[in-house]
Symmetry: C2
């Protein structure tokens, strides 16, 4: 293996390539979702289980904050926690997700309790927090770079849901709409940090591995959801 | 030991008593500071070393955020990070402390580097982050209750510095002034949380132990500073 550091362009291209080919938009469950093939129960199961992932995001972002010695970095990153928790009760991504849960016909309190989350989904989401806690700040930030691919997925998801699942209250798709712009900005922040701090080839490779580990986490969540709601059950 | 839970009033009184008698205002170094007996070098040493403590505070608060599953708690707590880091560069407690460092004649960049922090001071401050990371959320919050006693100490410190150390740029005492009100509000937030969540006697005792551990950390910092700047050296 050539140990010369990659140029910024080559490093970004590598991250995009390794991430894109493993991103969970290729997972059968997402493909069935976008083709309109999910039952109401499967779609509800996805919303209910994915909420647990949403609850882990501000926690992993707080872990990331706690790993940085640099007030400037923390000032840059802290909005991610506010984006999910809201500045006030009823605001923010978690509240929007609970509205989405109501929009697909779920009980808000039951979703918020996370009591029915499939164990395999819980393990995958917890693995994300563990990854961020145990690896370096640089790798933790790199693991967030799946947001490169989120805006496209969100846009396709909104269109597919409006077309194929007309029984979903369209007003509750606001979460996905809010994430299109936000995820793009977040990915730019993170790629700027990663390219500025991964100088050595070994650090660049560690970033690629962290991003791959994150794609595995997202993939395993969908495996867990698919297994919990076998088609035709 | 009677294992009945203490009433809210008795629990708060116990926390105040155990904290007050061990608070670092009783430490000889602080007593000499307030009596005007510190040399310029000792006062500078205190400012330089204490800055490392300041840098750990937003980190331990981010760890506390990461330990909570409750968006409402995180919304309540997150301002502590912003209070120290500022909403913009040049704002917040860390920036005010660096201005104080200039006000006592230190080089701002040298203080910010933390390169001259005494090892014993570093160990004590790091022990605070470790305590918060390893104990429960409840105990981590309880460890912050030394802020009960901070407003009085800050007010006495401002008066003592203006009287005894006229060579300090008085405009740079703004950090202490900003903390008088803020610490009072923070202590109220924390005591409300602790009394609402420590139901069993064992949990109440764990809170008392966490607060005592925090007073030991603050005390050990002053031991370390005093040892690093022996009087007359």
């Amino acid at each position: 293996l050539n140990r010369e550091p990659l140029s910024r362009e080559a490093f970004v291209a590598r991250l995009r390539e390794e991430g894109a080919k493993r991103y969970h938009d290729h997972h059968e469950f997402h493909q069935r979702m976008h083709a309109g093939e999910l039952s109401r129960r499967e779609l509800q199961g996805w919303v209910l289980n994915r909420y647990y992932y949403q609850t882990r995001v501000p926690i992993k972002d707080a872990v990331i904050l706690s790993k940085s010695d640099d007030p400037a970095f923390r000032r840059l990153w802290i909005h991610r926690i506010v984006d999910h928790d809201g500045a006030r009760a009823g605001e923010g991504g978690l509240a929007l997700w609970l509205r989405l849960a109501e929009g697909v016909g779920l009980d808000r309190a039951e979703v918020a309790s996370c009591a029915r989350v499939a164990p395999a989904v819980r393990f995958a989401c917890d693995a994300y927090v563990t990854l961020v806690r145990e690896r370096s700040l640089l790798e933790a930030v790199a693991s967030s770079l799946t947001e490169f691919f989120a805006p496209d997925l969100m846009s396709r998801r909104i269109a597919a849901w409006e077309r194929h699942y007309p029984w979903v209250d369209a007003g509750t798709l606001a979460y996905f709409e809010s994430r299109v712009t936000r995820a793009r900005a977040d990915a730019h922040e993170a790629i700027d940090y990663v390219t500025a701090h991964a100088h050595a080839r070994e650090a660049q490779e560690a970033c690629v591995r962290a991003l791959i580990a994150k794609t595995e986490i997202l993939w395993a969540m969908l495996d867990g959801i698919a297994a919990a709601y076998p088609p035709g059950a």
